[in-house]
């Protein structure tokens, strides 16, 4: 480094990361009267330029597949700026056989710019899983502790859904759901036959105006980013109100390198690389909130070594980087000849499913622990590249006949995505690679990852269920999976579902956990972690809503502590 730039200013709090957890912390803390420096490793988001709402594929030369057709691996050219599986100059490594895929966002708002908006509460039992089945660990908090914060988050961001009394999927404060699509009615009917629960989904999309934001206009393009902010993203819903307080300083292209510790063992600020100038800079703060995403936060803690914390910051337990889980993911696809008869109609709806299948075998004896839910999609969506790959493979040929087949098959496919709970295991964790640094000179992560028999059995059950549903609906199940090989029963590589959590888990016992129930480090009282890292279990409910509820709760606690003079 050419020089170290020191700012004399001392912020009340430095928040690292501007996604769901960091954005929420920035909002609650600034609204509570504290000054916040918010560090984001990527650039600003610019909806006018970056969001591709209403763009037709033929309006761009690459038709949605991106330069060289390579955008497909990062979900296509039209998606909101979201990150990537590979970031140039910022590698990570995998232990032999691990094959963990790490998706990282480098932009204001993080992954909330493009996420699926699936906003599900964890159930009471999810906080007491070990008590129920002896696996993993219980949370230090209960559903009753977090429920008021679920209420607050849902009331603020807006989530549609219906009250259903499903034990594994608690009801929340819901906006009315959109009407089901034809494809969803087909599945609902099949589920009724099979006694599988199928209910309106719960997505963070406004079906009514809320808190100054307009209602959804049903273009199905939430993933592209919404020009009217009718869906939830941190960049449009959390950062703006934090700005309005006048107490937020957003610092973009700032890659946190180390959390600095004073002689009294408390955090004094954050050292970061200013990517634009490749210089090291420093933010001084009375408290630090880490929300860089579960693995990035673990990396930062592990890289923050000092005489007081030789093992990495707040890591006397050795649990930082441990207990890493992703959702179990296995997908399938069915062809439904009955849908060929559907007249042309607007099938768009919201960006995501209007119906889903919550975990319905909650009270049964299954050959695997915990559970999964099923997401669905398909039908008469906006045509896109790859849509007729299957027709090409199966029907082959060319000419007028091929064209007629594509026309007939359009809108007749429904895809299913099973998303289930992985149990933490000792072979799955991340650590600092001793041999590698990224282009900013920061030591990188090395991943270890292994599915256990629990997850494989769950994936098998998903495949069996998809097939049963498709066949009950008179369709033809198209997905073929192997029972062995790298992806048994279609189980995806670890990390692929982008629900990685657990790497700085909370717990009642400082010997086996990193944080307490308020996301506060056991060992460093002015240090908090508010992304997916604190999660003790990773149930089949996508983690974002819980991350935000925990971040809100932690931020209120931090505000209280600050008032009492217990911070910094």
């Amino acid at each position: 480094m050419a020089q170290l730039v020191r700012s004399p200013k001392i912020y009340d709090v430095c928040v690292i990361g501007s996604g769901a957890g960091g954005g929420m912390a920035a909002k609650i803390l600034t609204e509570g009267g504290l000054t916040v420096a918010l560090l984001e490793a990527g650039g600003p988001v610019n909806p006018a330029k970056d969001y591709k709402m209403f763009v037709w594929p033929y309006e761009v030369p690459h038709r949605g597949v991106g330069v060289g057709g390579k955008a497909a691996e990062n979900f296509g050219e039209f998606l909101a700026p979201n990150g990537a599986w590979k970031i140039e100059g910022e590698p990570y490594t995998s232990a032999p056989g691990a094959n963990f895929q790490w998706f990282r966002s480098r932009i204001v708002g993080g992954r909330t710019n493009h996420w699926g908006r699936i906003a599900l509460r964890f159930a009471p039992v999810d906080f007491r899983s070990k008590t129920r089945d002896g696996l993993g660990e219980d949370w230090p908090i209960s559903y009753d502790d977090i429920a008021p914060y679920y209420d607050k988050v849902e009331s603020y961001i807006g989530v549609f859904g219906t009250k259903e009394n499903v034990a594994s999927a608690p009801d929340g404060i819901f906006l009315p759901p959109p009407k089901p699509r034809c494809t969803e009615l087909v599945i609902k009917k099949a589920c009724d036959k099979l006694n599988v629960t199928c209910i309106p989904s719960r997505l963070a999309i406004l079906t009514k105006p809320l808190n100054g934001r307009t209602a959804c206009h049903y273009c199905a393009q939430c993933g592209r980013g919404c020009g009217t902010a009718s869906n939830f993203s941190s960049s449009q819903v959390l950062i703006p109100p934090a700005y309005e307080t006048g107490r937020l300083t957003l610092i973009t292209n700032a890659m946190a390198r180390e959390i600095l510790i004073g002689p009294n063992g408390k955090a004094t600020g954050v050292s970061y690389i200013d990517k634009a100038t490749k210089t090291e800079k420093r933010v001084n703060a009375r408290a630090v909130v880490v929300a860089a995403s579960a693995c990035e936060s673990a990396r930062l803690l592990l890289n923050s070594k000092s005489a007081l914390f030789p093992n990495g910051l707040a890591n006397s337990s050795g649990q930082v980087g441990r207990n890493l889980t992703d959702s179990v993911g296995s997908d399938g696809e069915g062809y439904f000849p009955a849908l060929e008869k559907m007249p042309a109609h607007n099938h768009d709806g919201t960006g995501g499913m209007h119906m889903y299948i919550p975990w319905w075998k909650f009270d049964r004896k299954n050959d695997f622990p915990r559970g999964y839910h099923i997401e669905m999609g398909g039908g008469r969506e906006m045509p896109s590249a790859g849509m007729f790959d299957d027709v090409c493979d199966e029907v082959e040929g060319y000419g007028v006949g091929l064209k007629a087949t594509c026309r007939k098959r359009y809108g007749t496919t429904i895809g299913f995505a099973g998303r289930g709970e992985m149990i933490p295991n000792p072979d799955t964790y991340c650590e600092i690679d001793r041999d590698a640094v990224d282009q900013w000179g920061i030591p990188v992560l090395r991943f270890h990852f292994k599915w256990s028999e629990y997850e494989l059995r769950q994936a098998r059950d998903m495949q069996d269920t998809f097939k049963a549903i498709v066949e009950a609906a008179g369709g033809e199940y198209r997905t073929k999976t192997q029972i062995d090989g790298p992806y048994p029963f279609g189980i995806q590589a670890g990390g692929k579902i982008i629900h990685e959590v657990g790497t700085a888990r909370m717990g009642a016992d400082p010997r086996t956990s990193v944080l307490n129930g308020y996301c506060q480090a056991h060992e460093v009282k002015n240090l908090f972690v508010t992304d997916g890292a604190p999660l003790v279990t990773n149930p089949d409910k996508n983690p974002t809503l819980t991350i935000m509820a925990l971040a809100w709760r932690a931020s209120e606690f931090l505000l209280d502590e600050a008032k009492k003079g217990n911070v910094g």
Binding site: Y58, P180, C182, T228, S235, Y243, F388
Partner: protein, 195 residues
């Protein structure tokens, strides 16, 4: 971009992600502008597209094949009218895998035709062209005649890319009768579920 100035765009940049009606309009207009630029580029070359990756001869072959894969019919125009060849050429110019699969595939096709008919594909008689296409359009032929397998793989790749080019075009999207990509006050749901 009439009605919205560069200054407006910059002001929105400064405002950031605040939302609002003006933001809603810009992406579509920007896209329209991008579309116009592409059209102008085409028009600038006398209306005739100059291939970015393929040689003139290869591109001519590509046009023919795209037209064979998705021709004009009673419902809609074909893949050439829909711009599929330009789309394929653009991707090939940026992707080495496509260069060998498609560029190499076109050369394989010519060699095959020269061996068989003493002419490159475009110079073969119509019935000869059809004979070759009928051989490489089906996987089962490569099982009987393994020497066709590279041709079959090439055609399979080109068939998918031609479909991609066609069904992402205005013509292709209208052919499928997709209705949407528009703002609705209410989502109407499923019109009618037939048994």
């Amino acid at each position: 971009m009439s009605g919205i100035s560069r200054r407006d765009v910059l002001r929105n940049l400064a405002v950031g992600a605040a939302g609002g009606s003006v933001l809603q309009m810009i992406p579509a207009q920007a896209a329209e502008l991008a579309h116009e630029l592409v059209q102008k580029e085409k028009a600038g070359a006398g209306g005739k597209y100059t291939a970015k990756y393929f040689s003139a001869h290869q591109y001519q072959t590509l046009l023919l094949l795209c037209d064979v894969i998705i021709p004009k019919d009673e419902t809609s125009g074909g893949a050439v009218e829909a711009g599929a060849p330009e789309f394929i050429d653009l991707l090939a110019s940026e992707n080495e895998e496509y260069q060998s699969a498609l560029g190499g595939g076109l050369m394989w096709l010519d060699s095959f035709c020269v061996d068989r008919y003493e002419h490159v594909f475009v110079e073969c008689a119509a019935e000869q062209q059809k004979e070759v296409i009928d051989l490489i359009a089906f996987k089962k032929n490569a099982i009987v005649k393994p020497e066709l397998s590279q041709g079959v793989a090439f055609f399979a790749k080109l068939r998918k890319m031609t479909c991609d080019g066609f069904y992402t075009s205005k013509i292709g999207i209208e052919d499928l009768k997709y209705i949407g990509n528009t703002a609705l006050a209410e989502f109407p749901g499923c019109p009618k579920l037939r048994e």
